[in-house]
Every structure is written in C-alpha cells, then in structure tokens.
C-alpha cells in the first residue's frame, strides 16, 4: 500500500483508475464530478501507464467512446453527474445489450432537470431500475468514504469483466467533494494486446489466425433469437444476485430499530446512531454496498429483531421501495430524506425515527 494521502473522493477515483491499469477514460466536465476530469488531465496518465484521457464533446460521445473501447476488450470508463448521466442512458442500454464490460461513475446532484449542483441520491431509480430501455441491470456499488471510492474502482472493473456487464459507482456530491485519508495499492500494469486476446476471446481485436469473426452488437431482428438472448442475460443476472450482494451492518447486534442507508446518508446515520444511543434508543444501520444486487435477504433477516425500519436517502423515497420489498409488510418501513441538494442532518433523522417509527 502507498503512504496515507489526503484526497477528495473524486480525485481518489482518478488515481485508483490509473493504478488498476485502466486503458481509457472519456468524459465531459460537470459539477460535482469535475475533479475527476481535472485530476486525470493533470496527472497525464498517458505518460505513467499509456492510459488514454480524452475530454469528449458531450456525455453522449463519452459513453459511446467507452462502448467502442470496451468492444476491443479495453478497460474503459467514464464519469459524470446526474444530467450527464441521463444523456448516457441510451449508451448504457446498448452496452448492456452488447454484453460489454465498462465502469461508469455518477456523482449525483439534485434534480430533476438541470437542478442544482449540491449532493443528492435521487438517481437510485435511474441506476437500479433501468434508466435506459430494455431488461438490463447495472452492477451498482455505493461507496461511503474516500477509501471506498478508491477501492471500488478496481472492484467495479473486476465485476464488469467477470459478468461482461457495465458496472456503476453511484456516489454523490458529499463523498466526491470531501477529503479523507486514503491509501492505494501498487500499480497494476495495463494488459498487453496479447493478454487481452487471450483473456477475452470475445473482444473485437483484429482477426488473427482465421478464427470466426467476433460480432459485437445489441441488434437482433429475429425476436425468437432476441428472446433467447434475454433469457441468457437474465440467467447472468441471477448469478450476479447469487454471488455479489455486499452490505455492512453497524451496531445491529442489540438494535430494536434499524436505519437502511447507503453512501453519504449512511455516514449521517452513523452520527444519528451516536445521538440516539446517548438517549437510550437502540438503533443500528444496515448499509447496502451493492445497490444492484440489493441485500434483500439481509434486510429481511433483521425483521425478526427490529420493530421498525427507517430508510434514509436524499430523495423523495426511492430505495424505500426495495426495503419494503425485502420486508414484505413484516415490520413498519418509512422513508426520510431531504431533496434537491439539501443534506439531511443527524438531528432531523433522529426526529424522523422518533415520529415516523417509534411513536408512529
């Protein structure tokens, strides 16, 4: 591991990408993720590892550049914030439909529309329930610290290539803009062209030695075949759901009430737990780390122990629907969250726990 550094979450994403041997980065600046573009431009990784950094003319261009690089078996990624991510939805659906691996980072800001530049978590539905068209899923990781911003970049690439599917790092303006301690692993070399040919036989990397052509497309005009493809895709998603659920439980052992929160809201809930426990309220936190696949079972398992669950998210109440699906009516589930770029305070969350769950 490297020495301890003090870095913004956004900068940590950039450094982690270089160090894990990413091949290409295409992006367009937008607050609050612009530090990723700035960091990677200043670092000039083309001199460190040969990685390409290109500021595209738009988000539509960047996601399609990612599509092209991914088709060649390259580790490519892009980053944006909410309005830019809306522009990328078509490309993401095509990449999922073409079964290509890539990493996408969304540093979420308040919407809808151009909205505000302050932190939000209101892109949950867009990320885990579609966004683009068709029956596809994005493997979604939700970091809650600068260290996790760094750690999840190589993890996202690993999962993307393991399942040949786009992986999303869904974060927000708090984690992107804050500085914390972070440590990085040693440099992983980028794969050589020979290694890519060997590891990823599906890659369109130039046909050598008379093998069959590799065709990468999401178009299949024969609906019988397209249904077969969808069945195969769904089987892949069942594998993802079986193998890749990740979550963290904090102070759950004696909990009578439970917060479910991810990303920066999980941090605020930890502060709320300190305040609540000082008043004798035994509350814990279940923090989903993967938002797809979602930790339904882990949440359901808590229903035998807790009297009620408060889902906390900077939105009008999106993830709460998945908490309710997990709980299936066994205990009371409510949502609390500020919207449009306002960040919930620990005091407000404690008040919501009391009025909506404990007394409610």
């Amino acid at each position: 591991m490297s020495e301890i550094r003090l870095m913004k979450g956004n900068e940590a994403i950039g450094e982690a990408a270089i160090l894990c041997g990413a091949d290409a980065y295409y992006a367009y600046p937008i607050t609050p993720q612009s530090e990723i573009v700035e960091y990677l431009t200043l670092q000039q990784p083309e001199k460190r590892t040969g990685m390409v950094v290109l500021q595209a003319e738009s988000e539509v261009a960047s996601i399609n550049m990612v599509y092209g690089a991914a088709a060649g078996g390259k580790r490519s990624f892009t980053t944006s914030s909410s309005p830019g991510m809306s522009l990328m939805q078509e490309g993401l659906s095509y990449i999922a439909g073409a079964e290509l691996p890539c990493v996408v980072v969304n540093v979420v800001r308040g919407g809808p529309g151009l909205g505000t530049i302050q932190p939000s978590q209101a892109d949950y539905f867009q990320t885990v329930k579609g966004g683009g068209h068709g029956d596809y899923k994005l493997i979604t990781l939700a970091p809650a610290s600068v260290q996790e911003m760094a750690d999840f970049v190589p993890l996202a690439f690993e999962l993307a290539f393991k399942y040949r599917n786009p992986a999303m790092i869904l974060t927000d303006g708090v984690i992107g803009q804050m500085m914390e301690k972070v440590q990085f692993p040693e440099q992983t070399p980028r794969l050589t062209d020979e290694e890519i040919t060997e590891k990823y036989p599906w890659a369109t990397f130039g046909r050598k030695g008379g093998r069959e052509r590799n065709i990468i497309t999401s178009l299949n005009l024969k609906s019988e075949l397209q249904e077969q493809f969808n069945i195969k895709l769904q089987a892949k998603y069942r594998e993802v759901e079986k193998n890749e659920v990740r979550y963290e439980k904090i102070q759950c052992d004696d909990a009578e009430y439970l917060f479910v929160a991810y990303g920066s809201s999980a941090r605020t809930c930890q502060k709320t737990i300190e305040l609540a426990r000082a008043e004798g309220i035994k509350v814990g936190l279940l923090r989903p780390i993967t938002l797809y696949p979602y930790p339904y079972k882990a949440i359901d398992d808590m229903t035998s122990q807790v009297k009620g669950i408060l889902s906390v998210e900077m939105s009008a109440g999106q993830m709460v629907e998945d908490v309710r699906l997990a709980v299936n009516g066994k205990v009371k589930v409510e949502h609390y969250g500020r919207m449009g770029g306002m960040v919930s305070s620990p005091g407000e969350i404690l008040e919501a726990l009391k009025t909506k769950i404990i007394e409610g």
């Binding site: 003090l6 607050t31 609050p32 530049i117 303006g173 803009q177 941090r267 737990i273 005091g347």
Partner: protein, 180 residues
C-alpha cells in the same frame, strides 16, 4: 478526542487551505480526519466554508449542524454560525469587518486581528496561518511539529519556498490571540 470545526469566511481568504493544513496535521499524528467544503458558486466570490473533523476514532458524518469550534472570518459567517457552536464550545473570530460582535455567554470567545497583522507583516497571504496559529493556541489539538509537517504535505512543491513565511505567520497567531 474528537474536534468538530467549521471555518467560514470569504472565498480567497484561504479558508479551505487552512482546513486542509489542519487535516494533514491530524494525519501526521495518526488521527482520523475529514474535510468537507461548501462547494459551488460561492467559491467565485462570496462566502466559503469548510467542516474539518479531527478525531481519535472513525468519523461518522463529515457534515454537521453544530460544532465544537467555529472560526469566523466575516460578518455573513458570524450571522450564520455563531448559533451553531455547542454550549461550552469555542468561537474564534477576526474583528476585521465585523459589525455585530458575538453575544453568546455560554461559549468561549476569542479574537485574533489576523487581517491587520498580516498587512502589518507585509504578508497578506499569511492571513490564514495567523488564524490557524491562534486557533491551535486556544485548542492545541495537534502538535506544532505536526503542523509544520502538515503544511509541507498540503502545499505543492512549487510553493515550498513560502513555508518559512507561513511558519512565521503561524507563530505570530500564537502570540496575538486574545480571550474576550
């Protein structure tokens, strides 16, 4: 030990850099730190603030609504943050440009005439280091040798020639802070 601090003033006063130096100083003595800026249009002229937490334990929320210490460097920030200091907490301010002085009686109030001192020293950019010196005199949460190390870490190498000037300003801050 956990110290939760808000540093608030005008953009350009070095509020964010001061927070960064403090956070790096904490790292130098193996503490947990977080640095969360206000970001956005206010950085282009207007108010800027940063929440810094230095702790012996894992830090929960990087954003807070009340603080152990508020370091206040303009009137707008005084209006916004005087009420957010926890009872028994600390408020440190520079009286330059302050029309309405703090009135609370349940907190410890200190002032440091950093803007005036920086001008007198012919080192206006040393302003934030004077304030940092004043703060660490009142609340010695990090050791002085670690501030030097933190300063060196947080400045890019091309600015390392300014370290002696910054250290001089810091030392002056230690001397001129006054309790109210």
């Amino acid at each position: 030990m956990t110290e939760e601090i808000i540093i608030a003033g005008f953009g350009g006063q070095g509020v964010l850099s001061m927070g960064k130096i403090l956070a790096y100083s904490g790292i130098m003595q193996d503490q947990e730190v977080s640095w969360m800026p206000s970001y956005g249009p206010e950085m282009r002229g207007g108010t800027a603030n940063v929440t810094v937490i230095v702790s012996d334990e894992r830090i929960s929320s990087p954003l807070l609504t009340d603080y152990d210490t508020a370091i206040i460097l303009n009137q707008q920030s005084m209006d916004k943050f005087e009420s957010t200091v926890k009872p028994g907490g600390t408020l440190l301010y520079d009286p330059n440009g302050i029309i309405k002085h703090p009135t609370r009686t349940d907190i410890n109030i200190y002032k440091v005439a950093a803007a005036k001192e920086a001008a007198d020293m012919g080192n206006p950019r040393g302003f934030n280091m004077i304030v940092l010196g004043a703060y660490l005199k009142v609340k010695p949460i990090v050791k002085m040798e670690n501030v030097s190390k933190g300063l060196k870490k947080s400045l890019p190498e091309r600015h390392h020639h300014t370290i002696p000037m910054n250290e001089k300003a810091f030392a002056r801050g230690l001397e001129i802070v006054e309790a109210i």
